[in-house]
């Protein structure tokens, strides 16, 4: 920052002392830098400009950058810039082709997959069917989408260098969606490679190439000039990926206050996961601004349906009848701008699947109904064990106000606050809990929701769920699939295997020189972001 008026020498000597005293007062009193309120927002800033280094401060940079070797989507941030899947999703979770040119349904579970012509890896080698087969065989070893795809796949065969035949054991509309996380890597790197042997030198087809990487340290990406970009408008993982910045540097800053200060000081351009407490004090007129992304992160609790008091559906319904989600979300997040209170299990940002079906009793507290349900369940006031952790505010935040509301409704909660690793293990033991806090990201398709699987902790056994999931996995007509999902969500609200409080919005801080046409891309895609060049 340049000052027009320079203080005299003696005054300059006093500046650090005065600043030290003032800062001490600020820190000790818990105040921020200033109280200027801002609604946030980020503009496209006119014509995109090329050049510069985009520095992104994240709570943590990935310890593993191989997307097949880690299931944490936060760890895929490097792969998203460097690698590409056959299909991908937009910021509104629409699925479209990326490295695939076309997918033709031949009937009977047979599909012909054509690859885009002229695509090469960053080492100059052409991208071919052999790379697809090697990558998918490794993808099959991963949990989630890879595992589901493996269970559906009978064979994958190369017809020629750019054409393959994929045969499924039953026709499924899920194939493109299941391929959205299958990042393509050279067969020479991934063939027969177990997922416990992570790739540390990603060589893929994306707009940036990996220049340097240290586990939990800085990750440097440089624009790859050989990138073959699509000519459709860019949006998230789809369309044109414009590598505007010459270089992207991801730097780890675990403390939210450090990320904020570093952005305001001009050291970084984007600070991820800003604390909601800082929202009001980040000035839009200064060098940085707060940016709220679309609500994508659901705060939930999952009930133990296998044993204990919560295995009684009346008890779970009593929870729903006791809770005022508006109050819970306000207490948890502090400002209605930071969340949405919606009964749709798939958040509204994914307009294809968002629905209120079955959610008539969501956010309709009714203490008379609670009493009836508790009597029906035979509840006598025994403590109900709720596992949660402070490591994730979206897990922990709703638990305290919900505990208070449940107490007022006559339900005693034994809130057990432990570390995240302990929650993840204890929730697999039905003897150890009655419910646990959790969170759900937004999925492109409801079939991918882990909560709907019987194997997910909490054990939801339901023949009706199985039948609806089966239809959802095999029905090809989009309208019929939407109806099936509405039936399935209705079943969720009847059986209540889990309960959603609301959906929170990620909060970032960006320097004013940062621009993008789709702010939601800042959730993890950085190639279409540009910097003012002055």
């Amino acid at each position: 920052m340049r000052h027009d008026v320079r203080p005299n020498r003696r005054a300059r000597r006093l500046i650090p002392l005065v600043a030290l005293a003032a800062a001490s007062a600020l820190v000790l009193s818990g105040c921020g830098a200033d109280d200027t309120s801002t609604s946030g927002g980020i503009s496209s800033g006119g014509e995109p400009q090329t050049g510069g280094t985009l520095t992104v401060a994240l709570p943590a940079t990935p310890s593993i950058i191989d997307p097949f070797a880690t299931s944490l989507q936060a760890d895929w941030v490097i792969a998203r810039q460097v690698c590409e899947p056959l299909f991908d999703v937009s910021t509104s979770f629409e699925v479209g082709p990326v490295l695939a040119k076309d997918l033709v349904d031949n009937g009977g579970g047979s599909y012909t997959l054509s690859l885009r012509d002229g695509v090469t890896f960053q080492d100059g080698e052409p991208f071919t069917s052999a790379d697809v087969i090697a990558s998918l065989n490794r993808y099959f070893l991963t949990p989630g989408n890879g595992s589901i795809l493996k269970s559906l796949t009978t064979s994958i065969e190369a017809v020629d260098d750019t054409t393959l035949t994929i045969t499924l054991n039953t026709p499924s509309p899920l194939l493109p969606t299941l391929l959205t996380t299958a990042y393509m890597m050279p067969a020479s790197v991934v063939k027969d490679r177990p997922i416990t042997d992570p790739v540390s030198d990603l060589v893929c087809t994306g707009p940036y190439k990996l220049t340097s990487y240290a586990a939990d340290g800085d990750v440097v990406l440089d624009r790859w000039d050989g990138y073959q970009k699509l000519d459709t408008p860019g949006d998230g993982g789809l369309g044109a990926k414009n590598a505007y910045a010459d270089q992207i540097v991801f730097t780890p800053m675990p403390e939210a206050s450090t990320r904020r200060q570093a952005t305001e000081a001009g050291q970084v351009d984007i600070g991820g996961s800003l604390s909601y407490d800082d929202y009001d004090s980040v000035s839009s007129g200064g060098v940085a601004q707060a940016v709220l992304l679309s609500p994508t992160s659901g705060s939930t609790v999952v009930f133990n349906k296998a044993q204990g008091i919560m295995s009684n559906v009346a008890m779970r319904q009593a929870f729903l009848a006791a809770l005022n989600m508006d109050d819970i979300m306000l207490a948890a997040f502090g400002n209605p701008e930071f969340y949405s209170v919606d009964g749709s299990i798939i958040p509204e940002v994914n307009s294809t699947w968002a629905t209120d079906a079955g959610a008539e009793n969501y956010n309709k507290p009714d203490l008379d109904r609670v009493k009836k349900l508790l009597d029906e369940a035979g509840y006598t006031g025994e403590p109900i064990r709720w596992l949660t952790t402070k490591e994730d505010p979206s897990w922990y935040g709703p638990s305290l106000p919900a505990q208070q509301q449940l107490k007022e409704a006559g339900i005693t909660i034994d809130l057990q606050v432990i570390d995240r690793a302990s929650v993840i293990q204890l929730r697999t033991d039905p003897m150890a809990f009655d419910l646990f806090s959790s969170g759900i990201p937004t999925y492109a398709d409801p079939v991918l929701l882990p909560y709907l699987q019987q194997t997910f902790p909490g054990t939801w056994v339901s023949p009706d769920r199985d039948a609806l999931l089966s239809t959802l996995s095999t029905e090809s007509d989009p309208a019929a699939r939407k109806v099936t999902w509405e039936q399935l969500q209705t079943l969720v609200y009847e059986d209540l295997p889990f309960l959603k409080f609301g959906t929170s919005r990620p909060l970032l801080i960006t320097a004013n020189r940062v621009h993008t046409e789709h702010p939601d891309e800042l959730a993890g895609w950085y190639y279409n972001t540009w910097l003012d060049q002055q």
Binding site: V27, S71, P198, T258, Q267, T428
Partner: protein, 330 residues
């Protein structure tokens, strides 16, 4: 000193060294066994964390089997001992490479910051403590004592945040956070490590100041100081040569202890500043239940602290000739 006295002294020193090195084994073994057991007794399954929400119980079980986590405790401990003996220290479950290859990069960062912090702590602490002792009861002494009390009372993270606000956010002299390796240039590197080192050093300097003040005030009351004064030796010379030299022993002991304190404090400071050092690596490893990595860091840190304290003990005899290591007191 004659040659006949030097030989027993050398033998004493060697005997002392041998005893200390022998004592090193249980000193390291006890925390290692404790950490090994605590990690496995505490809830938290690395396989479940590694595979995430979408994994089925069968997939988690298969990975546990592959990683050897289903083996009996004694078998896992035997494997761990084998890894220690071969100096490989096992493979990090999350980083996918030998722990012995992971630790050095992080250790060097922490070591560098800790050394700078140690210098800051000693210079500031000894300066303040000496001032407080020699100006005891006077305004300068009282101010120095008050600064020491403030330093001990203010938590390390508050010191770090104040330094960030003043010297990084306002004055832009140093980086708010992040780490720039030396390979990117000396000044950028210095800008990135100064505030973490200062945060650590300032917080510890208050402790050094307190010990220094107490040690000097104790020595000032010794009879030999009175004798020196009665012999007409200049007060400055008494202070610089006689008092400080004797008072140096407890300060040196504190310096040895400071190494352990700096290493543990580095976890907080490295987290605030986003420095990829051992402290943060340990926190991350515990959070992920990366057993091998946690054990490796505990072993490395334990050995380092023990060796530093051994060196401090050995240096006593150099500073104060009255101290003879390895010889039973009369």
């Amino acid at each position: 000193m004659t040659s006949s006295t030097r030989v027993p002294e050398a033998a004493d020193m060697l005997r002392y060294l041998a005893q200390r090195l022998l004592a090193l084994l249980p000193t390291v073994a006890v925390p290692l066994v404790l950490v090994f057991l605590l990690l496995r007794l505490a809830p938290g399954d690395p396989a479940a964390i590694l595979l995430g929400d979408s994994a089925t119980p069968d997939q988690v079980a298969a990975l546990r089997q592959e990683l050897g986590l289903n083996a009996p405790l004694w078998e896992q401990f035997g494997r761990f001992l084998g890894d220690v003996v071969t100096l490989r220290l096992g493979d990090s479950l999350f980083l996918g490479k030998p722990v012995v290859d992971v630790i050095p990069d992080y250790a060097l960062v922490t070591l560098e910051i800790s050394i700078v912090a140690l210098v800051v702590a000693l210079v500031l602490g000894i300066g303040l403590g000496t001032l407080a002792a020699f100006r005891n009861g006077r305004p300068a002494g009282r101010i120095a004592t008050a600064l020491g009390i403030i330093g001990i009372s203010v938590p390390q993270f508050v010191v770090a945040l104040i330094l960030i606000v003043v010297f990084a956010a306002w004055l832009h002299w140093f980086n708010v956070g992040g780490f720039v390796p030396m390979s990117k240039g000396f000044w950028p590197h210095l800008r990135s490590i100064t505030l973490p080192a200062l945060s650590l050093g300032i917080a510890e300097s208050a402790f050094v100041a307190r010990i220094t003040r107490g040690a000097i005030l104790d020595v000032v009351r010794e009879p030999f100081v009175t004798t020196a004064r009665s012999l007409g030796i200049a007060p400055r010379r008494i202070g610089a040569v006689h008092i400080v030299r004797v008072a140096a022993l407890p300060i040196m002991t504190v310096a040895g202890l400071l190494v352990a304190s700096l290493l543990s404090g580095s976890a907080v400071v490295e987290t605030i500043f986003g420095v990829p050092g051992m402290g943060r690596l340990l926190l991350d490893a515990v959070g992920r239940r990366d057993y091998s990595l946690v054990q490796g860091i505990v072993l490395f840190t334990g050995l380092f602290v023990i060796i530093v304290n051994l060196l401090v003990d050995l240096s006593y005899s150099v500073v104060d000739p009255r101290v003879r290591l390895g010889r039973k007191s009369a």
